[in-house]
Symmetry: C2
Subunit: 363 residues, 2 copies
Amino acid sequence: MARHLNLYKLNNFEMRHGAILDGATLAYETWGQLNKKKDNAVLILTGLSADSHAASHDEDDVDGWWEYMIGSSKAIDTDKWFVICVSSLGSCKGSTGPCSPEPVTKLPYKFTFPDLTLEDIANSSFEVVQSLGIKKLACVIGPSMGGMSALALILQHPNATKHMINIAAGCHSQPFSTAIRSLQREAILNDVNFNGGNYSSEQWPTQGMKQARKIGMLSYRSSQEWKERFPRSLRQRPSKPFGIEFPVEGYLEYHAEKFVHQFDPISYLYLSRAMDWFDAYDHHHLDNQNPFEAIKMESTLIIGAQTDFLFPPEQQHEIAQLFTQISCPTQLEITNSIQGHDAFLVDKENYSRLVGYFLSQIY
Amino acid sequence: MARHLNLYKLNNFEMRHGAILDGATLAYETWGQLNKKKDNAVLILTGLSADSHAASHDEDDVDGWWEYMIGSSKAIDTDKWFVICVSSLGSCKGSTGPCSPEPVTKLPYKFTFPDLTLEDIANSSFEVVQSLGIKKLACVIGPSMGGMSALALILQHPNATKHMINIAAGCHSQPFSTAIRSLQREAILNDVNFNGGNYSSEQWPTQGMKQARKIGMLSYRSSQEWKERFPRSLRQRPSKPFGIEFPVEGYLEYHAEKFVHQFDPISYLYLSRAMDWFDAYDHHHLDNQNPFEAIKMESTLIIGAQTDFLFPPEQQHEIAQLFTQISCPTQLEITNSIQGHDAFLVDKENYSRLVGYFLSQIY
């Protein structure tokens, strides 16, 4: 990756399931300036397939995955905030993961990479924050997997942040979402080229990765949006029997092709499973206890989309209710976006407005 | 198949895309007695994976796929109605399909089987009805694919039936449903054992068929139902990394295993594509014309389930609206069943009541 990345070395990082990860590196990018009091830091925790390049900056002018959201005078205003985005541990986007060399053998970890949880992603990202001299974040912002990682962060570090913006996430995954992710993992594991993890760039599990991406895409948008985008009138004659005929098939194929070499297959498995493993309730000590009880935060904004069926609105309602119970001022917003789970990436108007207004109120 | 099936021979059957199918056979089963006036016949058109064995009868006491619905004193009361259920053309459940021997070569058709449409399934099933001396059905009943086939029937034979019960279907498939089916087809086509259609019982595309079934199952039930059935507390330790761990994974695996040898892979491809091809609007002659304009029916009952996202309620609303426009007395019922698309198979109370009451009113 030619990209300019800041690197932070994790030493003897203790993972949730007990393993010690030594010599691991986290890649991160920053925007804006940390002020003298070091109280203007915003940490962004990412979705499963995103990396630290959330937006362009002086050293890398390529658009990032949240370009519309982050920058001078944008919702996350870099004239005001010092923004940090970390490539998740395990994600192989500059940070150490299953395709990185194991320190002793120098061979890729593959399945010897220890169990990865969202708690590990949150903890390791917070080490980066602390390494910059920041004791307390002004805000942690997490969409999708990042939203669950944000919960994992505050559950383990109740004083980590003053505020939180939690988007398109839940306290855990519902069985339907787990099923969708399980089928993605199975598609990768079943590809003959996956070969128990011993794939190479010449023998890449292309089919499995494409299938996984397509299954994922079923859950990222909404039926309503596709109905508008892909009218039946645009059917084409397939070039072979059972070839691409319906516009939605061309769309899925295009995105699957684009994705296939962008992500390491084992990394995908580890991150996908981490999402299914996460459960905020694993952090409570007594039955029926509110898992966030120990947390003192000044306010939180919870956002969901009406059409999101991967993390449906009832899950954002649940988070909001738990924060209201602990007397944390909580704003819950369910948008009318038609883009489903991905709305935070594409419905610029709604999400800029909500995130921008919330941040403008806290500093 | 040890099952007792009635067989009907189709001669020079002309298919919608122009091919002539010769010497094809349709398997069907019947319940009850045809009366002298031959005006008490009810035709059931099936869903994609169902066969003619809708319910047990004297010659086959194995429970059928709609056992609760059909029988003496049941909603489709066989003391009153003469019920016919045909295994769809192309389905390889006793009827001719891609795995049947081609008459000249005696080898399985495989991909030389002509393009199959729901119009062909409807037409051929209606030939069976006519062969029994029935000129006009009392009612055609179709759930899921069968609901679209029922529309295909009346669009081609406007006088075929007095009444219709159309369940969990639509005038065509929405892009989201097409995507789900497309991914199922792709899973089968990509299995190395599928081998361009040259699979055998020793080299069966097990993985592809299982994956296809699991993807299908994502769309047959509902997130709500799964949340109730599969609490996270039932997680188990997987026997291998990335093995079955979450209860929903065990459920999908069980059903996939059960399905894998129950259906011919190429048959599945043909029927699945037929569902995506069907479009009631292909049958209108002018833009904005109601495709059902020529149809004279006495009444119709359209049923959907609130939680069905494969054929969501807006699609049953659309059918009902089109029938109301042609001044056909139309009853639209959207049930509160939590079982999604499959509700007609499992929500016995709601569906028995609706179907039973409608039928009791017409005869």
